[in-house]
Amino acid sequence: MNAVASPPAATNRLPAGVAALALMPLLLVPYVGLPSNVIRLLLVTLLWVAMSLAWNLLGGVAGQVSFGFAVFYGLGAYTAAFAINGGINPYVAFAAGGLVATLGSVLIGIPTFRLRGPYFAIATIGVNEAVRIVMSNLEITGGASGYRLLMTGRFSQEEHYYTALGMALLALLVSWYVMRSPFGLALRAVREDQDAAADLGVHPFRCKLTVHALSAFLTAMAGGAFARYTTYIHPDGVFSFATSISILLTSVIGGLGTLLGPVIGAVVYSIVQEEMVVNFPQFHLLLYGALLILIVLFEPGGLVGLARRIARGLRVRLTGRPGGPTVARVPLPRVGS
């Protein structure tokens, strides 16, 4: 079993090192006199990083593409909002949101994971829309007029920033740990061939349910932090299909199943979002759609795959021979095999 316990570490070591290096300036961000608008952008980016990494565990590592993560995001946002308005400590509120979403993920997962990949993906579209409609019509969510968080005390952007940073780090650590654990190997086995994995003693249903719960928890935490930061949420926003799409896109753009990919995808997404939404409100989805098409057609490994390919090309050109240990390209999983 020792061989199983030590998966190829080469693919994980580099991104972890990069992350550690990137962390130091990130810790100092609120104190170097950056305009608060930039800090806000970084904060939002960090929350996207957290969600992108969370989705990637289910969609990238385990190969179960879900179009329904807005459900968890929304559950996290609303649970945290209710709890904070009820006078509960915000961090406890985030955790409570995570737990509610975990429960939700199990309730959704038990029926839907009986379906294989593509049918699971379609079912999640249905789940997402059904939940959104129900939530929009419930009295308790504030319906179409939304729900406002009652904020007491001074607004501290630093605190919000560190919350977001903490969540991104948590997602990163969990992802890193899962990817190099036997559980991560089991998930990959399920992605590659569910039946073969089952023959080798992996319980696909249990694995999927577990990773779904983990992803949901992390997504909901970010949703809670987002709700607290914006102080206003409404069901058609947090439960919207567009939110689900964005969470999925960040991972796919960056590179499915990798650790660095979702981080890069989320950063690119947030920056593009920031620039596009102001100037061309409708075009950002057009851009993402085009990007998605290009990625599927030409570089299934996403931006990370593209970078690797370029690096490999450069190495060949500089040294004149195919460079050292080539890192396996992570292709889009064949769902349902």
């Binding site: 993906a121 990007l291 769902v335």
Partner: protein, 297 residues
């Protein structure tokens, strides 16, 4: 509720089922031959709707005629889409993730091109017939729905003839049943996939244009209809052409009669819950269920 009300609801459910069948059959044909779930379905429906709108605005052509004209045009559009993009993604006996993501990306692109061209305003197509009704034995039927039903029915009969009386149809049915065996007997799968995708998109565009004469639309149009199509083809057993009609009737009946029990704002949620339930408990659709019964007996 009186008998007349019941008959009225029943009539409108049947008329709805007709257009729902046309709408879903495009998805079934593509799924059957290529094993791809067309997530760009909504995008092509939206284009169909705006095609009918533009034609009826700019020319004296009647929107219903424009809808019929949409079919050949969208056939070509489907072929172009296939040739430029869909051809390049892997196919297997089950939908592959790249195909799902590609078509989903295409939906995003189409939808937002729609927003870029037509903006987010609600549009609707008014024809001289929009307000006209037809009364028969206590049942009131809007004439436009009757005509849309007629066109839908005609398109389905044409498809049936195509599938049962031509070599193309025979090849489509063969590939739907068993892709590899189809290849073994010499069917050119690439060419068939191209024609099938064109055919599927033709039906999708036609359905979008027809629905545009009944409902108002924005570039977001089609999303909820696409989900209904999923429900219908899942109920129908995914690759059965007759099953689609059964699925459409069931969805139309449930939607029409659920008004009596469920508040209108929850209407759509019913379709979506039905989708999940259908996927779970009816893996072979209604037909599969009937067949299983037969096997047991």
């Amino acid at each position: 509720m009186g008998l007349a009300d019941l008959l009225n609801l029943l009539a409108s459910a049947v008329l709805l089922a007709g257009i729902y069948t046309t709408m879903s059959i495009g998805m079934t044909v593509i799924y059957g031959v290529m094993k791809m779930v067309n997530l760009a379905h909504a995008g092509f429906m939206m284009l169909g709707a705006y095609f009918a709108y533009e034609v009826s605005q700019r020319t004296p052509i009647d929107p219903l005629l424009a809808a019929v004209l949409a079919a050949p045009l969208f056939f070509l559009l489907g072929i172009a889409t296939y040739g430029s993009m869909v051809r390049r993604v892997p196919v297997a006996d089950v939908p592959t993730l790249p195909s799902l993501l590609l078509l989903f990306g295409l939906w995003l692109v189409l939808q937002n091109i729609g927003y870029a061209i037509w903006g987010a305003d609600d549009r609707s197509i008014l024809t001289p017939l929009t307000m006209a009704t037809f009364r028969f034995a206590g049942i009131t039927i809007p004439i436009i729905r009757l005509i849309v039903f007629g066109i839908a029915l005609f398109s389905l009969v044409s498809l049936h003839v195509l599938l049962t009386r031509t070599w193309f149809g025979r090849a489509v049915r063969a590939l739907t049943q068993n892709r590899e065996a189809g290849q073994l007997v010499g069917i050119d799968t690439q060419q068939m996939a191209m024609l099938t995708f064109g055919l599927g998109i033709a039906f999708t565009g036609l359905a979008g244009a027809l629905l545009a004469t009944l409902y108002s639309f924005t570039p977001d149009f089609g999303g909820s209809f696409m989900l209904r199509s999923f429900v219908i083809i899942v109920l129908g057993g995914l690759e059965s052409f007759a099953g689609v009609a059964i699925g459409a009737v069931i969805v139309a009946l449930i939607e029409t009669f659920s008004i009596l029990v469920v508040p209108a704002s929850y209407q759509l949620a019913i379709s979506f819950i039905l989708l999940v339930v259908a996927l779970l408990v009816l893996p072979g659709g209604i037909e599969g269920l009937l067949q299983r019964r037969r096997l047991v007996q």
